[in-house]
Amino acid sequence: MDRYKPGKFEDFYKLILHIHHIANLEVMIGYADVHGDLLPINNDDNFFKAVSSAHPLLRVFIQRQDEVDYSNFGTNTLSRKKKALVTLRNDNLRRRPHINISMPHDFRPVSSIIDVDILPETHRRVRLYRHGCEKPLGFYIRDGTSVRVTPHGLEKVPGIFISRMVPGGLAESTGLLAVNDEVLEVNGIEVAGKTLDQVTDMMIANSHNLIITVKPANQRNNIIRSSRMSGSSGQSTDSTASHHSLPTSHVLQNFHPDEMESDEEADIVIEGGLEPQHIPKLHSLTSSSLSRINGSSLSHRLQRDLVLNNNSGRESNGNIHKLLSSLKTDPRHSLVIPRGGIEEDGTVITL
C-alpha cells in the first residue's frame, strides 16, 4: 500500500473484510495512533491519516459493529465507566450511520468544560487530558490577591492565579484558560488557604487528569446558562469546530465526583527473570518486529491483554525500555490497554 496515496476507505474496508473472510459482518475498523490511542477508520480522511502516520506499521483493530464500544475510542479509552449521556448520543448517531461526519469520538479530546449547569456563571471548570498527548500542560501559577464579597463588604484575600502560558502548550491550545484567571479549585478541592507550593504539588499530582475551576479574568466569554442547552449545544459547536481533524477538541460534559476516583492510573508491572549482569548489549528486537507480534495476535475483539511474547528469552529490561521508547512515547501511554484492564485482570506484560 502506498503510504502517501492509500486510496479510498471503501476499498480498504472491503479488503479488510476479504482478508479476514468476514464479508457478511458489519465491522468497525480502528487503529492505534502514534500516541497509542485507539482511533477509528471510517472515512477517507482518517484512513489517509492512519496510513500516513503509521509508524512504521499500521496496527489495525477490527471489531464487530454491534460490539463496538464507542467509549473505547479517543479519550474515552481513559475512562472506565460509560456514562448514560454517552450511550444516548451513540444511539442517535447509529440511526444515521451513512453520514460520515466525524463523531466526537473520532477525536481525542484534550480539554473540556464541565459542570456548566452547577457552577456559577462566572466560574469555569476545565478538564485537561494529558494522556496521549505529547504537548506539555504548559502553564504557570502565581500568588496574588483577589477581592471577595463578604458580609463585611469587599475584602482582599490571597489567591492563586495563572501567571503564564507556554506557547504551544496544552493549556494555551485549549483556549479555555488565560493569564490572570484565578484558580479556585483543583480536582474538586478548594485552593483557598493553601500555599502556592501546595497548589503546585496538587496540580502536578493530578496532572494526568487535571480539573481546575477558574474564575476567568475575562468574563465576557462565559457560557450563558439561560439557554438551557448545556450539554448538546456545547457539543455541536465543538464538533463543527473540530472538522479539520484538529487534535484539539473540547467537550462539554458533567463532572461526577466518581469520575475522579475512577481515573485509576495503572502502574506498569514488568516481570523479568534474568540476571542483570549478563546483559547482551547488542541483541535487541526492532520495533517493527514488535509491531508484527502485535499484529499477529490481533483478534476480532479488541485485545484486553496485550502479551508480548518473549521470543529470544534473553532480553533485558534495558531492551524493554528501548522497545517501549521506540513507540515514541513513554511506556505507560504506548500500549493500547483499555483503562482498568490492568486493574481488573492483573495484566502482566511478559518479556
Partner: protein, 983 residues
C-alpha cells in the same frame, strides 16, 4: 464530597484512637542554640542557661530539666537566682525583667513566669537612664538593685517589682565626697558591677565603668569607702571574709583593694597584668577563691596578649605556681565556680569550674591534679561536627548495650571521674522503658552513639571511619602539644570542631543490626563500610571492592568529586566497631540508600546512578543495577553541573523569605488602624509581587526529569515474589522516578554459605503511573503485619511472619500510599496525599502503638511526616488517615529533613544544628522530664528572713485575704519539708 464523609465516625475506633495516639513535644536534647546568659544557684545547685531566642533552661542532676520561653523571644542578657529561693530573674535585651519560679504542681516542679517588669524613668529622660546594666538580688530576697547606664541604681521590691524611689542611689549622691580632681576626670558612667558584702548585707560595692568603685551603706544611704581606680572597670569580686576585693579591668589587669574601717580611700594592694607586658585584652570576669592551704585560686576570663593571642577564648586558673589558660573552641559566654556554699565554712575550696561557651559546655575539675575536664551527662554538643544523618534503634539487647558502653569507656579515660557537680533537684521520672540508641553521622566521618533512652541524651561511644582512608591531615600533627615553658600556658579544652578535613568523609546513611552487632555506614564519596563489633583493639586489612554502577554505559563522564584514597596494608582500630569491608561505588556519588541484612550477610546500597548488592560473608559483589535514564545529564555529571539550578533555587528562596517577611509584618499589624494598615500592606505586597512574581510551572512529571534514577529506598524481604507457593529472599529498590525494582535472591543454606555464590535475578519492575519518588517499601505478611527485622525471629523477639496468607506490598511514594497484592502486583488500594492536600511525604516509618488503657492491645501504623511539617498516622493495612498533628514549621526545611521516627511512636528532629527536639505520638511511650526541686534545709537565721519576705509580699499584693494565704503557704512549706525528710 463523599470522600470526606466516607471514613465515617465509628465511636469505638474514635475512643481507641484516643487511647493510642497523643502528640507531645517532650524534651530538647543537646546544646542550646546561641546561648547568651548563664546563672547558677549554689542553694538549689541548679544551673540556668538563657538563649538569644528567649528560651531559659534549668539543669540540675541528670534528668532534672526545666524549660521556659519568654513571650518576647528577645535575647536573655542576664540570669540571677534569688538567694535561697526557687526563683530567678532574667534580664532581656529589651530591658525587661522577668521573675520565674519553680512551683510544685501535681507532684512535679514546673518553671513558670510570674511577673514581668520594665523600668521606666521620669518623663523625658533618655532611654539610657533606665537601661539596666547590672542586677543584684539582695540576700534579704526583698529587693533587687538595678544598675543603669546613667549611673543611677534603682531599687525594686520583689516579687511585685515596685520601684522604691526613696531608696534610689543616684550618681550625685555617690560623687559627693569623691576628690575634686578625680571627679572631674571621670563622671560616674554606667554601673558595671554590683556586689553585696559577703558578711554584711547592709553594704554593697558599686563599680562604675570608668574605674570608680564605692562601698555604699544601705542603712545610712551614704558612701563609706571610695576606691579610685585608674583603669576602665570590667568586674568585681569579694574575698570570702569581706576584708578585700578584687577588680578586673579593660587593659588586662586586676587589682586587689583592702577594705578596713579606718581608711576611707585606700590605695590598691596589688595591681597586676598577668599576661603583660605587651598590651592585653580585657579581663571581663574574675573569681578569688580561698583554700585551706592558704594559696588562693584566681580565675579570670580573658586578659591574653592582644597581638599574638587576642583571638583566643580563654579562662586562666592560677593557683600558687600552677597556671593554666584553658583555651575554648568558641566564645566564652560566661562561667561560674562551684565552691563551698556553707555560710559557716571558712574557705571557698572551689571544686569545679563550669564554662558556657557559645557551642559547648565545659566543666573542669579543680580538685584533681592536672584539672581534667568532666564528662557532662547532658548538654552534649551534637554539632561538634555537623550532623549529616541520624538513625534510631529501639530496644537494644543488653549484651550489645554493654559492649558499646565498654568500647566507649575506653575512649573516655582522659576525663575526670568526679561526680557531676551540678546535682540539684530529684529526678522522679520512671526508668526508661527500654534501651534506645540514636546514631548520628557527622561531616567529619564519625558516627556518634547516643543513649536516647531517657531525658539525658548521653554520648556512649564515638566511631571514626577516617582511619580507613588517606586524608590530607597528618594524624601526628597535634596542635595541643605545647612545650613545657610555653607562655601563656594554653590548653585546648572542648570537643567542638566544625571544620571537616574532607567533606567526602561525611556519613550519609547508617544501618545497625542490634542482634548481630553488624553496622553499615555509607558516605558522601560513595564509600560503604561494613563493620563488626570487637571488644579488643585490633590491626587488620580492610577488604576493598568496587561496584561500577554505570555498568559500562557509554558517553558518561562523572564531573563530581573523586573517591577517597584508601590506606594500604593493615590498619590499627580501637575497640568498638571495626570495618572489615569497604565497597566503593563508581562513580563515587553520595550514597542515597542503604540496607543491611545480617542474617543473609548482605548489604545493599544505592546512589543516583543505581544500586548494588554485596555479599559481605564471601566479600563478593552479587550484582549491580543501573537505574539511570539516558537523558538524565545532571546525575551523570555530578554535582558540579548543578550550579545553575542552585543559583535558581537560591533566588527563589530569597523571594520566599521576602514574602514571608511581608506576611509576618502583616500579622503583627495589631488592631489599631487595621483598615488603613491592611490596605497599605496589600498595596505593598501587590507591588512586591509585580516586581518579583513567584511562579510555579505546572507540568506532569516525565521520564526525562532529572534524577529519576536516584535510588531512594532499599528493602530486604522474605516474601512471595515469583509465585504464591514459594517464598524467597528478595531485594526491593525504589527510585526518584517512581520505579520499583524487585530482585529474587538465592542465598545458600548456612552450611554451604561460603561455598556457593549468592544469586540474584530481576523478578519485577513496577513503574508507578504518577512517577513520584518512592520513599518507602514494605511487605506485610498474611496477618497484615510488617515483616520482622532480620534475626528478630531467631532471637525470639518477634512472632515469625505468617507465610500462609497472601502477602501485600506497600509502596510509599511522595504522593501516594499504595498497597499491591503479591506475587501478582496488582493494585489493591491506595491513599492519595498530594492530589488531595498538596503535601508530600518526607518520611514514613512503621510504628507500634500500644494502648494506654489495656496492656494487651497494640497495632502497627504508619507514622508519616509531610513537607508541611505535619505528622499523620495512617492505619495498616487499610490506609486510613487516623490523626494529624502539626509538628515542625514548614519553613524549617532542615528540621523536616532531619526527622527520625522510632519503632514505638516517638521521634527526633533538629531544631537547631545542635539540638534535637524529642516528640511522642504514643500515649504509652513517653520520655519527658519529671522532677522535683525541694527547698533545702536552710539555717534558722535565713528561714526567718524568708518568712518575713513572704509576709511582706502577701501584705503588699493582696491585703484583704492575707491571713488565708499565709496559712496556706505555711502548710505548703511544711508539706514539702516533711516530704524531703522522707526522701
Amino acid at each position: 464530597m463523599r470522600r470526606f464523609l466516607r471514613p465515617g465516625h465509628d465511636p469505638v475506633r474514635e475512643r481507641l484512637k484516643r487511647d493510642l495516639f497523643q502528640f507531645n513535644k517532650t524534651v530538647e536534647h543537646g546544646f542550646p542554640h546561641q546561648p547568651s546568659a548563664l546563672g547558677y544557684s549554689p542553694f538549689l545547685r541548679l544551673m540556668a542557661i538563657g538563649t538569644r531566642s528567649g528560651a531559659i533552661k534549668l539543669y540540675g542532676a541528670p534528668g532534672v530539666e526545666f524549660m521556659g520561653l519568654h513571650e518576647e523571644n528577645n535575647t536573655v542578657m542576664q540570669i540571677h537566682f534569688i538567694p535561697d529561693q526557687c526563683q530567678l530573674v532574667t534580664l532581656l535585651d529589651d530591658n525587661s525583667l522577668h521573675l520565674w519560679s519553680l512551683k510544685q504542681h501535681s507532684g512535679a516542679s514546673e518553671l513558670r513566669e510570674e511577673y514581668r517588669f520594665t523600668l521606666k524613668g521620669p518623663p523625658g529622660s533618655p532611654p539610657s537612664a533606665t537601661q539596666i546594666t547590672a542586677v543584684l538580688p539582695h540576700s534579704s530576697r526583698e529587693v533587687l538593685y538595678l544598675g543603669t547606664e546613667s549611673g543611677n541604681i534603682f531599687v525594686v521590691e520583689l516579687p511585685s517589682f515596685r520601684v522604691l524611689e526613696d531608696r534610689t542611689i543616684t550618681s550625685e549622691a555617690v560623687l559627693q565626697r569623691v576628690p575634686e580632681d578625680y571627679c572631674n576626670r571621670r563622671s560616674c558612667e554606667l554601673v558595671e558591677a554590683l556586689r553585696e558584702h559577703p558578711k554584711n548585707p547592709d553594704q554593697i560595692l558599686i563599680g562604675y565603668s570608668r574605674g570608680l568603685i564605692v562601698l555604699w551603706d544601705l542603712q545610712n544611704n551614704k558612701v563609706t569607702h571610695h576606691f579610685l581606680g585608674s583603669q576602665q572597670l570590667e568586674n568585681l569580686y569579694w574575698q570570702r571574709d569581706g576584708s578585700k576585693f578584687i577588680s578586673c579591668h579593660y587593659d588586662g589587669s586586676y587589682t586587689q583593694w583592702p577594705v578596713s574601717g579606718d581608711n576611707r580611700q585606700p590605695e590598691p594592694l596589688e595591681n597586676l597584668v598577668p599576661y603583660g607586658p605587651f598590651p592585653c585584652k580585657a579581663i571581663s570576669k574574675i573569681y578569688w577563691q580561698t583554700t585551706k592551704n592558704g594559696l588562693p585560686y584566681i580565675i579570670f576570663q580573658g586578659g591574653m596578649p592582644r597581638a599574638s593571642y587576642g583571638d583566643r577564648h580563654s579562662i586562666s586558673v592560677v593557683h600558687g605556681s600552677q597556671q593554666t589558660a584553658f583555651d575554648f573552641t568558641s566564645r566564652v559566654i560566661d562561667f561560674f565556680i562551684i565552691f563551698s556554699s556553707e555560710p559557716t565554712a571558712e574557705f571557698d575550696d572551689p571544686s569545679a569550674m563550669v564554662v558556657l561557651a557559645e557551642e559547648e559546655l565545659v566543666v573542669i575539675d579543680l580538685k584533681s591534679a592536672g584539672w581534667p575536664a568532666v564528662h557532662p551527662p547532658y548538654l552534649a554538643s551534637l554539632h561538634c561536627s555537623a550532623i549529616t544523618c541520624s538513625h534510631h534503634v529501639s530496644n537494644i539487647p543488653l549484651k550489645l548495650w554493654e559492649r558499646i558502653i565498654g568500647a566507649g569507656s575506653k575512649q573516655n579515660i582522659h576525663y575526670s571521674n568526679m561526680p557531676w557537680p551540678i546535682d540539684g533537684g530529684t529526678n522522679i521520672a520512671p526508668d526508661p522503658p527500654q534501651r534506645d540508641l540514636l546514631l548520628t553521622g557527622h561531616e567529619d566521618g564519625t558516627v556518634r552513639f547516643w543513649d536516647a533512652s531517657g531525658v539525658c541524651l548521653h554520648l556512649l561511644y564515638k566511631l571514626s571511619t577516617v582511619r580507613v582512608f588517606l586524608t590530607d591531615a597528618d594524624p601526628n600533627d597535634n596542635m595541643n602539644t605545647l612545650g613545657e615553658d610555653e607562655w601563656p600556658p594554653l590548653r585546648k579544652v572542648g570537643t567542638f570542631d566544625p571544620y571537616s578535613d574532607d567533606p567526602r568523609l561525611g556519613i550519609q546513611k547508617i544501618y545497625l543490626c542490634k542482634y548481630s552487632g553488624y553496622l553499615a555506614v555509607a558516605g558522601t564519596a560513595g564509600q560503604v563500610l561494613v563493620m563488626e563489633l570487637n571488644d579488643e583493639e585490633a590491626e587488620h586489612v580492610v577488604d576493598h571492592a568496587e561496584a561500577d554502577l554505570l555498568q559500562d554505559q557509554e558517553g558518561y563522564r562523572w564531573k563530581g568529586h573523586e573517591k577517597l584514597k584508601t590506606r594500604d596494608g593493615p590498619v590499627r582500630f580501637e575497640a568498638g566497631f571495626q570495618p572489615f569491608v569497604l565497597v566503593q561505588c563508581q562513580p563515587p556519588a553520595v550514597v542515597t540508600s542503604l540496607a543491611l541484612h545480617s542474617e543473609w550477610k548482605l548489604v545493599a546500597f544505592g546512589t543516583s546512578h543505581g544500586f548494588g548488592l554485596f555479599d559481605h560473608q564471601q566479600k563478593r559483589l552479587v550484582f549491580v543495577k543501573c537505574t539511570l535514564h539516558p537523558s538524565d545529564q545532571l546525575a551523570l555529571e555530578g554535582p558540579l553541573s548543578r550550579v545553575k539550578s542552585l543559583k535558581k533555587s537560591l533566588r527563589q528562596s530569597f523571594r520566599r523569605i521576602r514574602r514571608s517577611r511581608v506576611s509576618s509584618r502583616k500579622r503583627r499589624g495589631g488592631s489599631g488602624n487595621v483598615q488603613e494598615a491592611n490596605a497599605k500592606f496589600d498595596q505593598d505586597t501587590l507591588q512586591e509581587m509585580e516586581l518579583a512574581p513567584v511562579q510555579r510551572k505546572i507540568e506532569a512529571r516525565s521520564a526525562e526529569d532529572s534524577f529519576t534514577g536516584f535510588v531512594r529506598t532499599l528493602y530486604f524481604a522474605d516474601t512471595f515474589l515469583r509465585d504464591s507457593s514459594r517464598h524467597c529472599p528478595s531485594l526491593w529498590a525504589g527510585t526518584n522516578g517512581g520505579t520499583v525494582y524487585a530482585f529474587c535472591l538465592r542465598v545458600p543454606p548456612a552450611e554451604r554459605r561460603m561455598d556457593e555464590p549468592v544469586r540474584a535475578e530481576q523478578a519485577k519492575e513496577i513503574q508507578l503511573m504518577h512517577r513520584a519518588p518512592v520513599v518507602g517499601i514494605l511487605v506485610l505478611d498474611g496477618r497484615s503485619t510488617p515483616l520482622p527485622e532480620p534475626l528478630e525471629v531467631a532471637h525470639d523477639l518477634s512472632k515469625s511472619p505468617d507465610m500462609q496468607g497472601s502477602h501485600q506490598l506497600l509502596v510509599v511514594s511522595e504522593e501516594q500510599f499504595k498497597v499491591f497484592t503479591l506475587p501478582k502486583v496488582s493494585s489493591k488500594l491506595k491513599l492519595k496525599l498530594t492530589a488531595l492536600e498538596g503535601c508530600r511525604v518526607r518520611k514514613a516509618t512503621v510504628a507500634n502503638f500500644g494502648s494506654c488503657k489495656t496492656d494487651d492491645y497494640s497495632e502497627n501504623d504508619l507514622a508519616v511526616l509531610t513537607n508541611l511539617g505535619d505528622i499523620q498516622i495512617i492505619s495498616l493495612p487499610f490506609l486510613k488517615l487516623q490523626i494529624r498533628y502539626p509538628c515542625i514549621r514548614k519553613e524549617d526545611v532542615s528540621g523536616i529533613a532531619s526527622c527520625v521516627f522510632t519503632k514505638y511512636g516517638q521521634g527526633f528532629y533538629l531544631i537547631s544544628p545542635s539540638e534535637f527536639e524529642r516528640f511522642s505520638l504514643s500515649t504509652k511511650w513517653l520520655v519527658e522530664p519529671r522532677c522535683i526541686v525541694d527547698v533545702p534545709e536552710v539555717t534558722s537565721n535565713n528561714h526567718v528572713h524568708s518568712k518575713s519576705g513572704m509576709e511582706n509580699a502577701a501584705r503588699k499584693s493582696s491585703p484583704s485575704y492575707i491571713l488565708a494565704q499565709q496559712t496556706i503557704q505555711l502548710a505548703c512549706t511544711g508539706a514539702s519539708g516533711s516530704c524531703q525528710e522522707h526522701t
